[in-house]
């Protein structure tokens, strides 16, 4: 009989410690648990790392027009004259890491036609009603139009 009492006492002790632990941790708040365990593992925020911190860790990809101006003054001024006034990165891709990295260019016919094809709700652009037969079908638009200032004359 004695051993049953002792086993029961041990079980109740474990139960009390366990439920007590739950209540204590609950009342201490999230800063203690899981906050403390998270800090030991080096994470913060509800879903691991804080999302602002996560964003700040990323290398910035897009640099903006003024970054290009530092070297390409001529193209910058030319593109400012017309109606496009695009960011350089619209056609050239992102400029992050550019001086060593090579820049590409998007000059396909389809890319220009994204805006210049008659599309519902885009009446304010210079539309090409004859887009299916305009110019040379197998060559990019930039053969005839200066890409930085596409207006003739």
């Amino acid at each position: 009989m004695k051993h049953v009492v002792r086993a029961l006492a041990l079980f109740i002790l474990i139960l009390v410690v366990f439920i007590g632990g739950i209540f204590v941790l609950n009342s201490l708040g999230e800063e203690i648990y899981p906050g403390y365990a998270d800090r030991l593992m080096g994470v913060s925020g509800h879903y691991g790392m804080d999302r602002n911190q996560k964003e700040l860790l990323k290398e910035p990809k897009y640099t903006g027009k003024e970054y290009c101006r530092e070297c390409h003054q001529k193209e910058y001024e030319l593109s400012e004259k017309g109606g496009h006034k695009f960011d350089c990165e619209t056609c050239h891709g992102y400029g992050g890491g550019h001086p060593p990295k090579d820049m590409g260019v998007e000059n396909t016919r389809e890319f220009c036609l994204n805006c210049h094809k008659p599309v519902l709700g885009r009446s304010d652009y210079r539309l090409l009603e004859d887009w299916e037969s305009h110019g040379y079908l197998d060559r990019p638009c930039t053969v005839c139009h200066d890409p930085h200032y596409p207006w003739f004359g």
Binding site: K2, R6, A7, I14, F18, Y33, P34, D38, G48
Partner: protein
């Protein structure tokens, strides 16, 4: 309806990998082992020889059932949070309560059935560290009179009853993983029943396997009566699991609504698991039916093959449920493929590690609590007292 084929929603992917297959698998094995223990406790006295072995083998599985969940968590340091914030409206939170009931009743059962051995070891053990462990385990009571042992036996019966209920509730996670996805393929009422029977088959197969292997390790003869009795139950458990599983698949293949998805997916993506289920079950049922007539080593070899193939079959069933249900798109017009990565937290190697962990723990548990009473006790350092100098072998 079948105008568009092969259409999958763009955000559809397999979120639950091979680890979530291992988790219900381990839990179903626990259900089966606990049920076999209850059968031996309440009905079949001829399983007495394997009783302690079943306890020693169940504890490692219960302990490692949480491993796949821990590995699956993105932030494992928050694993305790499910207990800190009890919530009865969440099925997964209730799992914690059922699991702890299972663990503590099992520990209680182990303590009460090994108590006599523990007391004898605490007095006779030569190794001082081991003796200290046994002394702590006795809780300071060295009373092993007939009266107290009778009381122990009565308490074990009560604990077994509670544990049986907890184990069957525990197996609900097996089908929870299919139902939560609410995929029409697995959204069926016979699923819980079919999965409990699958678990019972896997658990009995593992008991047979462990019993045969343990008898080899401890250099004793495996009793044919024990193996035969468990195999008798295994036959019906497997028959029920296989029958219900097949009825399920055939029913959905017959019904028009999801016929395309089910037939296409079982014919291409799930062809290997499905073949394993069909051929493996047939083979195991045949071997179980005709293995009974064999004798000696041939019988043991046949039953070992049966046990291994039943374990593989039930694993394939769990694979079909967890992975298969995720492969069918909600549009029911397309499906995707899945092959587990080798490395990483969700990989194949981690899953194999989780599957092997119970056997490593089993070796440790069996080191401290040998499941079979040894023929010769270790030479005693101190003279044993009169009432405990009983040869353990006599009790068997």
């Amino acid at each position: 309806m079948h105008a568009i084929e092969g259409y999958v929603y763009p955000n559809h992917e397999v979120f639950w990998g091979v680890l979530i297959v291992v988790y219900p698998y381990l839990v179903s094995i626990i259900t089966g082992m606990v049920t076999i223990y209850a059968i031996s406790e309440f009905w079949r006295k001829d399983l007495k020889d394997a009783e302690k072995l079943i306890l020693v083998a169940t504890l490692p599985f219960v302990l490692s059932a949480l491993l796949p969940l821990l590995l699956d968590l993105g932030q494992p340091q928050r694993a305790f949070e499910i207990y800190v914030t009890p919530n009865f409206s969440s099925v997964m939170a209730v799992f914690g309560i059922v699991y702890l009931t299972e663990l503590f009743t099992l520990l209680g059962e182990m303590w009460f059935s090994f108590r006599r051995d523990i007391v004898i070891y605490a007095k006779n053990e030569g190794n001082s560290i081991k003796r200290l462990v046994y002394r702590l385990l006795t809780l300071g009571v060295y009373d092993i009179s007939e009266k107290s042992l009778k009381l122990d036996h009565r308490i074990i019966k009560v604990l077994t009853f509670i544990e049986l209920i907890a184990a069957w509730c525990l197996s609900y996670v097996s089908f929870l993983f299919g139902v939560v996805k609410s995929n029409p393929w697995w959204n069926t009422t016979i699923l819980p029943v079919s999965f409990v029977f699958g678990g019972l088959a896997a658990g009995s197969a593992l008991v047979i396997l462990v019993y045969i292997i343990a008898c080899k390790i401890y250099r004793r003869e495996a009793r044919e009566k024990v193996v035969d009795t468990i195999a008798y139950y295994l036959f019906f458990f497997l028959l029920a699991a296989f029958g219900l599983e097949m009825i399920n698949t055939i029913l959905y293949a017959y019904k028009e609504d999801v016929a395309w998805a089910v037939i296409k997916i079982t014919a291409s993506e799930l062809v290997i698991p499905q073949m394993i289920v069909v051929i493996g079950s047939m083979e195991a049922l045949l071997f179980l039916r005709f293995g009974r007539n064999l004798r000696g080593t041939a019988k043991q070899a046949i039953y070992t093959i049966v046990a291994i193939s039943v374990l593989i079959v039930v694993f394939a069933m769990r694979w079909n449920m967890v992975i298969g249900a995720q492969l069918v798109d909600y549009s029911l017009r397309g499906f995707i493929g899945y092959s587990p990565p080798l490395f990483g937290k969700e990989g194949l190697l981690a899953a194999i590690g989780v599957l092997l962990a119970p056997f490593a723990i089993m070796a440790i548990v069996a080191y401290f609590l040998p499941p079979f009473p040894e023929r010769k006790m270790a030479p005693s350092v101190t003279q044993p007292e009169k009432h405990i100098s009983v040869d353990l072998a006599e009790r068997v």
